[in-house]
Every structure is written in C-alpha cells, then in structure tokens.
C-alpha cells in the first residue's frame, strides 16, 4: 500500500514553478530519500504533503485519502529550519508536541527518548540553554515522541556531529523496523545510498529520478572505472574514450564514453604506470546527482 501518493502536483510561487506536475508514490514501511540541489522543490513538496502549503494543481493522498488534516496526527515532521519555544523547558516542549499529536504514554516516551539521545540531564532546562546540536536532537524527539506512522524529515543530518548522525541513523532504522514509513531529504549522498529503499530526485521542480538505488544505477550502466595507480592522475592524461575524470587524490574515477572499451583503457594505463586497483563499477549516487544537477560544471573534462 502506498502511504503517500502525489498525482500531477504543481505548485507555483508567482511566476516560479517550484514543483511541476509531480507524481510520487511512497510505499508503506520504506525509507524514501529526497535528493536534489538547493531550491529544486524538495521542501515545497514536503510542505505540500504536510498540508502547510496547498498545491495549485493535482492531488495528494495520505493514507489513501485526500482528507489529510486528521491523518496528519499520524505524521511526524521535522522542518528544515528548526523552531522551538526558547523559554520552554525541554520536558514541557516534548509534552506539548506529544499532546498536540495525541501521543500516548508521553511520560514514558519522553524519558525513553531523552535517555536515548543523552539529554536526560537537560530535562528541566530551558531550550535556550541547549547547544545547536542538542536543540536539533530535541526537535527530532519532538517529531517522533508520539510514535507516528509516517516520519518526514527535512535535512535531519545537517548540523549533527558524526556520533549523533550515527545515533539518528540507527534510530531511523529502528523506527522503520517498528513499522514507520520514513521520508527524509538530504544532501548527504552517502547516507542516502546506505539508508534509503527508494530515492527520489527533484531538479528544477521536476522529478528526474525515482526508484531503488539499484534501478537508478542500472539506468546509467557500468560506465565507471575506479582506479588506483602509482602515478596517480598523471597516468590518465591523454587517454581516449574518457568522458570525465574525478580525482580524489589516492583514487580516481573515470567515466567512459559509450563506445569506449575498458580493457583498452586498462592496457593504455598499464603502459604508463603500475596499476594497484582497477574496478569497473556503476556510478555512485553522488556522481549521478552531479551528472543531473551540474552537467555544465564538468570538473575535469578530458573527453
């Protein structure tokens, strides 16, 4: 069952079309990653799902119905820019948000989540006393305090240190295991690759990718070679059949032309340097993102 469905949804802001004729289906129990450059329409899409913005055209179904107001009680939402009452105490903030969502066993839930995110000592402190990272964790707890069936997170990992990012990642996977459907937008392609069952990319208001990572990578085929040589990027100079080289220092990634033969290229490189590693692979999500979002900004085009 699709827990969220968008049918031909369009949203304009004046003359700007922020979301253009968008179709999307989010199956129940999955983790769906929203990716896209800044200003591509991710937040607008999320806000429309949350009924904060109204689409100019199209239909949005939540739990299979257009009557979303009541259903929104089962959706937790973490906006891109965090907003908490600074003068409220941590416990009161969580109780307030839990009550608004008609959450059950709030006292136990608050204790559980504060302990999980190492905020127990801050229970009676005011929000203004928290660091930015702590406030972000608190905002996340407020989002899930009522154990919603759907969790929508706009850039949940931004601003978190690696330890807290890891805690958040584990928590999201736990919530998914307990039956929640999770949507999150991110610029961290690595996190999206590792966590998401489905990835949706929006660019200039239009859907450009939608599917599992495997499906998306299959669309692009095995046109990428990951190579490590003793000469480094110098071994790749003046090679034919290469569309792009991305130099990561120790390792280089080569995108091949459609007619290029990987074995011919390997032979050419071996004439110049010892090859320590040679891997024919599919493009990473990061690479796919850049191919779509910035085709004009080729970092190192040797084609």
């Amino acid at each position: 069952m699709d827990i969220i469905e968008l049918r031909q949804v369009t949203k304009n802001f004046g003359s700007l079309t922020a979301v253009d004729d968008l179709d999307l289906k989010v199956p129940m129990g999955t983790i769906y990653g929203f990716i896209g450059p800044n200003g591509s329409g991710k937040t607008t899409t999320i806000r429309m799902i949350m009924n904060i913005l109204y689409p100019d055209q199209g239909t949005i179904l939540l739990f299979g119905t257009r009557q979303r107001n009541q259903r929104l009680d089962h959706v937790g939402y973490l906006p891109e820019e965090r907003g908490l009452y600074k003068k409220m105490k941590v416990y009161d903030v969580l109780k307030f948000h839990g009550e608004l969502k008609n959450g059950k066993n709030l006292k136990q839930e608050i204790t559980y989540w504060l302990r999980k995110f190492d905020l127990t000592a801050w229970t009676d402190k005011k929000v203004e006393a928290l660091s930015k990272g702590m406030a972000q964790k608190l905002q996340f707890i407020a989002t899930v305090i009522d154990r919603p069936q759907v969790i929508i997170l706009d850039e949940p990992f931004s601003g978190l240190d690696p330890v807290n990012s890891e805690i958040l990642r584990e928590t999201l996977l736990e919530l998914q295991k307990s039956g929640a459907t999770i949507i999150f937008s991110t610029h961290d392609m690595n996190m999206a690759e590792k966590m998401c069952d489905y990835i949706f990319m929006i660019h200039k208001g239009k859907k450009v990718l939608d599917g599992t990572l495997n499906d998306i990578q299959n669309q692009y085929g095995s046109d990428t070679i990951r190579i490590q040589t003793e000469l480094g990027a110098g071994a790749l100079e003046e090679l034919k059949g290469i569309e792009k080289i991305s130099d990561f220092g120790q390792v280089q990634e080569i995108r091949l032309n459609t007619q290029a033969d990987s074995q011919t290229i390997l032979a050419e490189i071996m004439k110049k340097s010892r090859v320590l590693r040679f891997e024919i692979t599919r493009p990473s999500l990061h690479d796919i993102f850049i191919r779509i979002a910035a085709p004009e900004r080729k970092e190192d085009n040797h084609a």
């Binding site: 904060i52 965090r82 907003g83 009452y85 600074k86 608004l100 407020a142």
Partner: protein, 454 residues
C-alpha cells in the same frame, strides 16, 4: 464549560477543540509564569494606589515660604479689607490646628501707589521684581470696581505672575475684593445686613437619579443623590481596566506571532494544527490571560471598596457586560494583531504596524469625557454602536448613573459579535497566508490580497 462543550462534539471537532486548548494553555502558561507578568500584575495597582496616596500626602504639602504680593489699588477702596483678610488668613489658616506647624505660605501684601504718569513703567518694574523673585505676583485693581463703567478695563482685577493660570493666590483675591465692594454698595443703599441675608443666599442644584419602582416590593423608590465620584470614577476605572487588559493580552500577539514566524516555530506547529486552530489557540490564550487579570483586579477592587464602606459604588449589574465586552474585544483585537503579526518579517515591520493597529483601542479614550457627560446624546449613541469602539464606549455609557435605552447594550453586543466574527474570518485568511510567506512586506495591498485569496 468549554470542556463540557468539547465532550459533546464529534471526534473531528473534539480533536480540533483539543488542539486549540493545548495551544491556548501553552500561551497562558508562557504568559502567567513569567516574572514580568507577576511584577506587572502587582505593579499596576501599586503604582495606581501609590500615585493616589502620593497625591493625598502631597496635596497639602506645599511650599510654605511667605509670598509677597504687590497691590496697585486704583479704586482706593479695598486696601483695608484686603489687609484684614490677609491678616486673618495668616493668623488662622496657615498653621496645622493640631501641631501648630506651618503648612501654607503667609500672604504679605505691599500696596503701591498707582503711577498715573507712566503706569506701564510701573508695571514693568513690578514685573521685573517678580522675575527677580522679590515678589510672587502683583495685582492691579481697576478704578471703577464699585460702579462699573463702560470701560471694561476699569472694572477688572488683574493678576500678574509667572504662572497666573495655575496660581492659587489669584483665586484668593476675588473673594475679599468682591465681598467688600458688595458691602459698600449695600451701605450706599442704606440696607441693614439682616435685610440682605436672603438676597445673597445661593442655592445649589442637587444632582439626582430618577425615581423608580422597586422590582421586588413594587413600591415607589425615591431617587438617589448623584454621586460625582461614582459618575466618573466607576466608568473610568472600568474603561481603563479594559484598555489595560487588551494592552496586556491582545496587543502582544502581534510581536509574539511575528517571532514565532521568524523563529520557524510556526512551521513546526503547522504540521500539527491548522493555521486557524493555531490562531484561535493563541487568541483563547489571550482571553484566559485577560480574564485572570480582570478577575484579580475586579475582586481586589470589590474588596477594597467594601473595606472603605463604599460598597454601593460597585456596579454589579454592569460586571456581566464588562466581561462579555472584554472577551469580544480581546478576540476582535487579538485576531487583527495575530493576522498582522503573521504578515511581518522583522521587528521594524511590527513596530510600523503596531501603532495604527492600536488606534481602535486608543481612540475611544479620547472621547470618553464627552460620552460620560452626555451618555444618551446622539454622538455617544452612534459612536458606541460603531463596533471597534463599542466595548469601550457602551461600557462607559452603562457605567454612568444615567439610564440608557435597554436595547442599546444588546444591539452593541450583536454588532460586536458580528464584527468579531468578521475580524476572525479575515484575520484567519491573512494569518494562513502570511505565516508562511517570507520576505513580503506587510503593505495594505498585500494584506488585502491575503484576505481575498486566503
């Protein structure tokens, strides 16, 4: 009451009501738990009581340095009379009767021979003496005060000082001069004092209410004497209390909503509640805050007035009107303030809008006195039926001892209820759009556009 009502509603409406109440409760707690609220609650009556006490303490505590006043008596008739009255005053009125302490200044009169050649130079010299502080003032008594002639200046008493308008000494001169010349006129007519006693008996007009029938006994009831204190103090107190409550509860919504918008709290909440529920919750919070303060102050005022044995002054019949109009006034003003706050992007926007938005609350205060003086006049009636002014002006009209037509408060109530519904509806439409829009200035055109498009 609200909770009982909420229980009877279908589930969807119950959820809506519950969310509004949760927002309202948060608003209420956030306001009443602050130190500034408690300090303000105590400080207002303390300041009001303190200023009244200070007035009582200092009203007789004037500068007791003797005042020297020069008198140019062109009539040559009142010198002795003035000297005698000044002597009498200085001996009997300027000392506290209990402890003999001097509490008022003595008046020292210096009679100056009129300069018939250069009278202006004489007055300039005296003026300079006043300026230098040697004299407090000087008085010029016209030559024809006994038998006024056609030249008005000749029959006047002129008081020259730096602050003649507010100077008590000026009023003191009138009595001895007029009494004395009146006596001189009687003497000329050769009338005995006992014959003239009735001639100068002054009769005051006593202010009375209207005769009415006692509703319980059916007996006719004598009209009551008009109490000046009651006529002015009660309406003033009630209107000022209402003004203060609106200022403390509804007006702050403008900046509160603006801050919630700018700090993105609104977006978080809008994932849980609709904009309309959010706005109504905030307004309900404001009503609770104003009712709390009103209950404390009204109860305090009733207790204080009873302690002072002036319980008759309390207009119990008006209290339900007071609370009804207060609630509507807070909703009306609150919805406008919340809507404007939602359209603001920074403090500057809020400051620019605050004053014009407060005008409907402030303006009735400027026309309070004419309405109190003539509560049944056409101007008072029509202004009190103009919805933004109704809560204040209808209350004033109800609080004065004058009986206004019985239908008018009800008509005012209906008009205000309708206007409040309109305010909430328009406010809600502006709020819904404004709360999420960033970077748009809250111009009149934008506000109208939000209201129309919703």
């Amino acid at each position: 009451m609200i909770f009982l009502y909420a229980l009877q509603l279908p589930k969807e409406r119950r959820t809506t009501m519950r969310k509004i109440l949760i927002i309202a409760l948060r608003e209420y707690r956030a306001a009443v738990k602050t130190k500034s609220f408690i300090v303000g609650l105590i400080l207002v009556p303390v300041l009001m009581g303190g200023s009244m006490a200070a007035f009582m303490i200092f009203k007789d505590n004037v500068d007791t340095d003797d005042l020297k006043i020069a008198v140019i008596d062109h009539s040559q008739l009142v010198r002795e009379a003035l000297q005698e009255r000044a002597r009498l005053r200085n001996e009997t009125e300027i000392f506290d009767k209990e402890n003999g302490e001097k509490i008022k200044p003595a008046y020292i009169l210096e009679f100056i021979q009129p300069d018939s050649i250069n009278p202006f130079q004489q007055k300039l010299d005296l003026s300079n003496r006043v300026r230098s502080g040697e004299l407090h003032a000087f008085v010029e008594i016209g030559p024809s005060i006994l038998h006024p002639d056609s030249i008005q200046e000749n029959t006047m008493i002129r008081y020259y000082s730096e602050h003649a308008f507010m100077d008590d000494v000026r009023y003191w001169f009138s009595d001895p001069v007029n009494n004395h010349i009146r006596q001189l006129r009687l003497n000329e007519m050769d009338l005995a004092p006992e014959e003239t006693r009735d001639l100068f008996y002054w009769i005051n007009v006593e202010g009375m209410g209207l005769v009415e029938v006692n509703k319980k006994t059916g007996d006719m009831q004598e009209a009551e004497k008009t109490n000046e204190l009651q006529s002015f103090l009660v309406p003033y107190f009630m209107v000022l209390l209402m003004f203060m409550l609106v200022m403390m509860s509804a007006i702050p919504l403008l900046t509160a909503v603006m801050e919630e918008k700018m700090e993105r709290i609104a977006e978080v909440l809008l994932a849980s509640v609709t904009p309309f529920q959010f706005m109504l919750g905030k307004i309900l919070g404001s009503i609770s805050i104003s009712l709390t303060i009103a209950a404390i102050y009204v109860a305090g005022a009733i207790l204080t007035v009873h302690q002072m044995d002036m319980g008759d002054m309390i207009p119990y019949r008006i209290l339900p009107w007071f609370f009804a109009f207060l609630i509507l006034f807070v909703i009306m003003t609150g919805s406008v303030m919340a809507a404007l706050g939602s359209a603001c992007n920074d403090n500057k926007d809020a400051q620019n809008l605050q004053f014009p938005a407060m005008l409907p609350v402030i303006l009735p205060l400027f026309i309070l006195v004419p309405v109190m003086q003539n509560p049944t006049g056409n101007l008072s009636t029509w202004l009190s039926l103009f919805p933004p002014f109704t809560p204040t002006l209808m209350l004033v009209r109800l609080a004065t001892p004058v009986t206004i037509p019985a239908w008018q408060p009800y008509a005012g109530l209906i008009v205000v209820v309708l206007f409040t519904i309109l305010s909430v509806w328009i406010g809600g439409r502006i709020f819904r759009t404004g709360i999420l829009l960033q970077g748009q200035k809250p111009t009149l055109a934008n506000l109208i556009s939000y209201a129309l498009k919703g």
